[in-house]
């Protein structure tokens, strides 16, 4: 077998496992969108669909891990090829976490639909989720196309998501102070908003993997940390 053959067998294997990543990414994008939608429209059936779909996401992560291990064992890749296979493991772990957060959001649809809505909070969370979904789409495109510029753009956009979360945190404090009937709903909504902000962090982590793959440098150092709520002493 010539080097040529070995190289293309590896490429074929890698393409196979990357196709699974894109499939998993598509399911996670749906989960983000549908969980936020179920929250806003108080749709218990849709929430249940998100919870069921999470099992497929988890199964895909396991499959991707096994495929990646098999590629390493069979092809013994080194240098950039090895980095590529290892990135698949990292990215699928990030996708699995995002799917978990979406599932947790869907789980709270039931309790929140039993109590009065708090202004447009569910709408604000849905808009935040939409930003994260768009970031994820671009992060996966950047990964497949090895586009470091697009990946850096995704990293920069995470700051907008952080700002949306900061604004919500302050609003929740205000709503709770104004009317203690809002307290329970706001505790759940805060939880969901924070999870959505964390989804953005995991998308950022996928984008950082891409920058590392393309440039060989970790970009984390330059990222501003825009969750400022640890300093909020009053609403």
């Amino acid at each position: 077998m010539s080097d040529q053959h070995i190289a293309s067998a590896f490429d074929r294997d890698l393409e196979g496992v990357q196709a699974q990543i894109m499939k998993m990414g598509g399911l996670v994008e749906d989960a983000i969108r549908l969980s936020a939608q179920s929250l806003e429209t108080r749709d218990a059936d849709l929430a249940e669909k998100v919870r069921t779909a999470d099992k497929s996401i988890d199964a895909l992560e396991q499959l991707i891990n096994e495929q990646a291990a098999r590629v390493i064992a069979l092809r013994a890749p080194t240098a950039i090829d090895l980095r590529l296979v290892l990135s698949v493991i990292k990215i699928s772990a990030n996708l699995e976490r995002i799917g978990d957060y979406a599932k947790n959001m869907a789980k709270r649809t039931h309790v929140l639909s039993q109590i009065p809505p708090v202004n447009d909070s569910a709408g604000a969370i849905r808009r935040m989720a939409r930003s994260v979904e768009a970031m994820l789409k671009d992060a996966l495109d950047a990964y497949i196309q090895r586009d470091a510029d697009l990946a850096m753009d995704v990293i920069a956009r995470d700051e907008d998501v952080d700002q949306m979360y900061n604004a919500l945190f302050r609003q929740f404090l205000t709503y709770m102070m104004e009317d203690q009937g809002n307290i329970t709903a706001c505790m759940h909504l805060h939880f969901i908003a924070k999870n959505t902000e964390r989804m953005g962090d995991h998308v950022t982590s996928i984008a950082e993997q891409t920058v590392y793959l393309v440039t060989g440098e970790h970009p984390e150092e330059d990222r501003p940390k825009a969750d400022k709520t640890s300093n909020v002493a009053k609403g």
Copy 2:
């Protein structure tokens, strides 16, 4: 070079990278303990120490990733040997996340020390953190000794941590309803309690890795999910 030589070179490499995991684990155990202590004693200097130490934890994760990739590239391990090296990458990622949560807890020491304490909430969080720290110690011991029974024991103990979180969630709701002067503090404390509960989830994930390494089976399916707060409609 005989097979014997290759095997022992691999074992030496693996021991080296596992020693880094234990070093990282020790730093993360300290971070859990000291962040909770800084919160309870309102000690800003100690909180600052935790934040500084997190940089060493992050640097160790990067080092472990590079060492693991080097072992794979040099030794081309397969089967169980490959699984062992890949587990190192997964476990260091879990340790890094736990360190991040501890850093986030420490960050909130400042704002919480400016407002009145809410009963013994900080003490309750410290006790919860102590449980997680003990679980982490055992999870790492189970990993190094390939002790699936100890790892299963760690997984079971995560339910206690979840129960502690559930109890705190209800208490926070009650405190906020009783006195709206507690709202800001309770929002921060809830955030910290939830992060501590998540630390437990990451420790559980380390224990699950060990079970998988030893038995070849994923234990997740049997794990009860004991965060019941998604159903709490009132405090």
